[in-house]
């Protein structure tokens, strides 16, 4: 009964109702869009990093601190006996890092040379292209970002200076075998990929590694003396921290949008209580308690959001479909910042549970905002209401 009356009043309210519903729907469309963007961005970043660098996990040499480049030099250790079978089976991919100076076109740049087994299949990295080389030239693969910063192109020859495990510097001539599109920025920016055997030879040690990429989940969490398991949470800590920071801005944005929608609903309901006081008096005369009358008005306001929620997929469909199929392309130049997930077009996926949660929260907010003007009803004398008087 109350629902029917509230519904009829909304319909009877005509344009004002329509405007409220559209305002709510627009706010929700923006919120769904933002929710989908963050969700899809994070999923894309995770997928890229997993495909190109993390695999099913990582075992990192204990002294290696990714935030301290000076640790790279010595952050390697021989393959522990308990991992030898995994390495031999290809379930563990040893990667060796070596800080280096490179000299493209005579300029000097710092870089990290990364040795990866040619036959590995745990990562999407096309390591099979890293052959032994000929004519004294070591073939290397670099990403587009590295190519841009070093101005190296496919076929370019340049020198790399690396220190071996005895502290002696050695220089090699390398040729850019191919400039790859590497969506994971940590595998691209400042990275030069070479055949692991070649790098080990230069370093002067045959079985050392800086980290292992896990290709088979059975090695997750394994403990060895020199290598430490890096779980997903630790590996993506920066990404998740960045997401947390973005979330704060997102919440602020949401709050602003919701505030605007709530103002519209509050205004409508406050006006309704004022304009319909004779109706309030009539309802009281018919035997409605003040709580029930307040419920009618609260429900009316809440229905605006309910209808707004229904209108959201309808009005927002073109936008949602466009970003779901064409995607959100990060403006050119942003991918140079090395932010995870920024190198590819983000195809939106819509996290239904999160979106429903947002809708539920907005419904609760609307109910509160719609209830606020009804407090006046509690103070309204039915006789005054019937006369159309208000305090």
């Amino acid at each position: 009964m109350i629902l029917r009356l509230a519904f009829r009043n909304i319909v009877n309210n005509g344009w004002r109702s329509l405007i409220n519903i559209v305002v709510v729907a627009i706010v929700l469309i923006v919120m769904v869009w933002m929710q989908a963007m963050y969700f899809s961005w994070i999923r894309l970043a995770e997928t890229q990093q997993i495909d190109w660098e993390y695999g099913k996990g990582m075992l990192r040499e204990k002294s290696y601190d990714p935030y301290d480049p000076f640790t790279i030099e010595d952050a390697n250790a021989p393959i522990p006996p308990e991992l030898e079978v995994g390495v031999a089976d290809g379930d563990l991919v040893p990667v060796l890092l070596a800080p280096a100076s490179i000299y493209p076109e005579g300029r000097m740049m710092s870089a990290v040379v990364k040795g990866i087994p040619r036959e590995q299949q745990a990562l999407m990295f096309p390591s099979h292209k890293l052959h032994e080389g000929e004519g004294g030239l070591v073939p290397v693969l670099i990403g587009q970002s590295m190519a841009k910063s070093s101005r190296l192109q496919t076929g370019d020859i340049f020198s790399i200076r690396i220190r071996d495990i005895h502290g002696t510097y050695d220089a090699i001539d390398a040729i850019v075998e191919e400039v790859l599109f590497i969506p994971a920025p940590t595998a691209d920016v400042g990275s030069i990929w070479v055949n692991l055997d070649v790098l080990r030879e230069i370093k002067g040690s045959e079985d050392i590694a800086s980290y292992f990429v896990i290709g088979d989940a059975k090695y997750q969490g394994i403990k060895t003396e020199d290598f430490r398991y890096i779980d997903k949470q630790e590996y993506f800590a920066d990404l998740y921290q960045m997401l947390q920071n973005e979330r704060f801005q997102q919440v602020l944005m949401y709050a602003l949008l919701v505030f605007l929608a709530m103002i519209a609903i509050f205004d409508t309901q406050a006006l309704a209580v004022f304009k319909r006081r004779r109706e309030i008096g009539t309802l009281a005369a018919l035997g409605f308690t003040k709580a029930k009358i307040a419920l009618i008005f609260t429900l009316e306001g809440t229905l605006y959001t309910a209808f707004g929620i229904i209108a959201t997929p309808i009005l927002g469909f073109p936008l949602f479909w466009y970003y779901g199929t064409t995607g959100f392309k990060i403006p050119r130049g942003y991918d140079d910042f090395g932010v995870l997930g920024f190198s590819e077009t983000i195809l939106f996926k819509y996290p239904i549970n999160e979106i429903l949660m947002v809708f539920a929260i907005i419904l609760v907010f609307t109910a509160i905002v719609s209830w606020l003007p009804t407090r006046k009803i509690a103070r309204l004398n039915p006789v005054d209401a019937l006369r159309g008087k208000v305090d």
Binding site: E279, G281, L286, F288
Partner: protein, 232 residues
């Protein structure tokens, strides 16, 4: 001896004003029996509507006692008052006060929704009430599609549909022409006779006064006279 359904004992009502209290009703003592067709008559400001509102539990007295259908209005809580109105009292207003978003059927049905009747019984009661007031052909019409007389008939049907013990009608013919007023009054008189519902009016319309069986004349908040209509 007829059952008393409402009684006031030395009841007064004051409204605060900037210059102290204004006493709208002073020492009113009255009794109303079941099945009465009575009314408060008097000029504007004589306290008719105030007295009607108190009897309808929409307001409470400042002094004295009022008992309606066993409920002490001078002590009643808002929730009990709502219950009393929803179960036992029907109101008819000068301005009809129909819900504009509902059609005739829904307006008449509305009070029954508080009574938890089953759907079939409710439907029958609504259709009967609409038939009493002769608006069966307008059942789907909205108030804005009806004349003033028709709206007041809907209001009567809404007041009568739950077969209340008491109907309070505040200037029910004030916005109606003579023909419509007579029709409305005939309808109410018939319902009073056939269903035994008590009617109490507040009016200064001579047409209504002509129908009343008991005329209580109020002047400046006091009962000036309480008479049985001539010829009864």
């Amino acid at each position: 001896m007829k059952e008393v359904i409402a009684i006031t004992k030395n009841m007064s009502k004051a409204f605060p004003t900037g210059e102290g209290d204004f006493w709208a009703l002073k020492g009113i003592s009255l009794e109303f029996a079941r099945g009465e067709f009575s009314g408060f008559v008097g000029p504007s400001g004589s306290g008719k509507t105030t007295l009607l509102n108190i009897l309808g539990s929409l307001d409470t007295p400042t002094k004295g006692e009022v008992e309606v259908l066993g409920h002490k209005i001078h002590q009643i809580s808002p929730r009990q008052a709502s219950y009393l109105r929803s179960q036992h009292i029907g109101f008819i207003f000068q301005t009809y006060n129909l819900l504009p978003v509902y059609n005739v059927y829904e307006n008449v049905e509305f009070p029954l929704l508080l009574l938890k009747m089953d759907a079939a019984a409710r439907d029958k009661a609504v259709r009967d009430a609409i038939a009493w007031v002769g608006l069966t052909d307008k059942i789907k019409s909205r108030p804005n599609q009806l004349s003033g007389g028709q709206c007041q008939r809907v209001a009567i049907a809404r007041a009568m549909v739950k077969k209340p013990d008491l109907v309070l009608a505040d200037e029910p013919t004030a916005n109606l022409d003579t023909e419509n007023s007579m029709n409305i009054l005939d309808t109410m008189q018939t319902l009073n006779r056939e269903l035994g519902t008590s009617f109490i009016f507040s009016t200064h319309d001579p047409k209504v006064i002509g129908y009343l069986k008991r005329i209580i004349r109020l002047i400046d908040g006091e009962v000036a006279s309480d008479d049985i209509a001539p010829g009864l």
